[in-house]
Symmetry: C2
Subunit: 305 residues, 2 copies
């Protein structure tokens, strides 16, 4: 099997989409007809997710179920989490399990095995705070299982400034030091399209920092949360791509799965919100060129930034 | 209900124990008779945990199930995780769910609700890397539900030096800045015994750093992992307590739940390993005084360190 980064890049090209949809189910926002047809909250969550996946699967490259909203319903919710992963996988979507796990030694090994081997997820998010040895078991299993990692580097919340952007002795910031370590680590899982299966999470709300990070990590796929309801705009997204307009997938959750319906049914509203986001991002990626961007080496966009 | 810190301090006094047992079930190490009596791996895990809890409950102040070893078996494993929490709770033990969760906004709220409200856990571990706003939902719910938090500050692995100990612009280290923020935050959940329900995780393998952190955090309970198989020794533990020998609980997992049996049955081996650890730590706490230490204010140990 191709490594995760290659599968991702191929799917981005094939679908001409950099969109990832966050599956953050909230019972109070799930359409009433789904609730009425379901036996329990975890069942409603799974039914809602299936409906979303069926609607968006041709226009998005990946889905990202966020574990917290499933763990809320304890083990029955976690069952819906893994059922959702399985369903999305069977529909041909890449699945990023947003679990943000972190631990050390044999515990990190157990988390890696749970998500990268025992589940159908293609990639997971991890938190690097515990140090590089805490990341190693995830890298090892990602390599063995042809799976991917997205390491939290600069998250989209204001508080990410507290520690991730803290200024170090030499005047650099913590995320820069981490980025350098991720660059080195990433070489071990480099795919044939020039990207590594070790990606990074870089929030859409910090485009200036993203420019710095992008230069440090030319071979790293960025998973970019914070687009849509969190306030980031399409024009800010250029900073997250490489000069050839590849190397980032943009996640939106609430703005896609709970769109304003404006007299449409919720299915049509989700479909249109997805297509609109895909088109907006592609417009940004292709602006000033007129070409459909390709990953690496072929057509370089002339970007003014 | 008393706040978490008060319940913990009272139980430490009542049981004269600062021991926390980590419930890190590993199928290859669970006694064969438990495996034979169980229907599935998650069932064996729960049966093993019940046996451990029954054996240790009078000699330990808390148990700490480590979520990774349960998530390994996906939703069925997670069911054993919550069943274990419920069982320990019914046996009168405090339960620290070692989940090391971290996220932002409504996602952090969902994690907080899952573990601090919907489960019977008394406290959870959380990862602060995403910033102070990511911690806030946990603090809010810990306050409302009289639950506790242990924020990762300096973990026991060598790699904790990578980022947690990184040197900042002013020459201090990241864990010092974080400790100052935890001190401030802790004031909001201060109990009548002088300790806050917002604790910190400080690994047993870094006693010198622990001295620095202890001075910054006199009102913070330390959850100290790394004792036993990870190599920390009893005499190193003094650095983690306040001068009155209170304010820390010491966790051991493998050395307690998988002890060398030495011709004893595994139940006796677990019982003796627990009592031995409890006695070793109490000896350290009472050395040079002869008094049983009390939390705050009554008898102060004269410690030479």
């Amino acid at each position: 099997m191709d490594n995760f980064a290659d599968r991702l890049i191929q799917d981005i090209r094939r679908k001409n989409s950099c969109v990832c949809v966050g599956l953050d189910p909230r019972l109070d926002l799930i359409p009433k007809e789904i609730i009425d047809q379901s036996k329990s909250p975890p069942d409603a969550i799974f039914n809602f997710n299936k409906a979303i996946i069926d609607i968006v699967k041709d226009d998005v490259v990946a889905v990202k179920p966020q574990s917290a909203f499933y763990e809320l319903y304890l083990s029955d919710g976690v069952r819906s989490f893994f059922d959702t992963i399985d369903y999305a996988h069977r529909q041909g979507l890449l699945v990023i399990a947003d679990v943000k796990r972190s631990d050390i030694g044999s515990t990190a090994e157990a988390y890696a095995e749970a998500y990268l081997k025992n589940s159908q997820a293609d990639a997971i998010t991890i938190n690097p705070f515990l140090g590089m040895d805490s990341i190693e078991p995830f890298v090892k299993l990602a390599h063995e299982e042809a799976k991917g990692l997205f390491i939290l580097l600069k998250t989209s919340n204001p508080g990410s400034e507290d520690f991730q952007s803290i200024v170090l002795k030499d005047g650099t910031r913590l995320y820069q030091v981490m980025a350098e370590k991720i660059a080195l680590l990433g070489k071990r899982l480099l795919g044939k399209n020039g990207y590594s299966s070790i990606g990074a999470v870089v929030g859409a709300t910090f485009p200036d920092q993203a420019k710095v990070i992008r230069k440090l990590l030319p071979n790293t796929v960025f998973l970019v949360p914070g687009y849509g309801r969190q306030g980031a705009k399409a024009e800010d997204l250029l900073s997250y791509f490489n000069p050839d307009c590849s190397g980032a997938i943009i996640n939106a959750s609430r703005s896609i799965i709970y769109p304003e319906t404006k007299c449409r049914n919720w299915q049509d509203a989700i479909r249109e919100a997805t297509k609109e986001m895909k088109d907006q991002i592609n417009k940004i990626r292709t602006q000033n060129t007129g070409f459909i961007p390709n990953a690496f080496g072929t057509v370089f966009c002339i970007l003014v930034y």
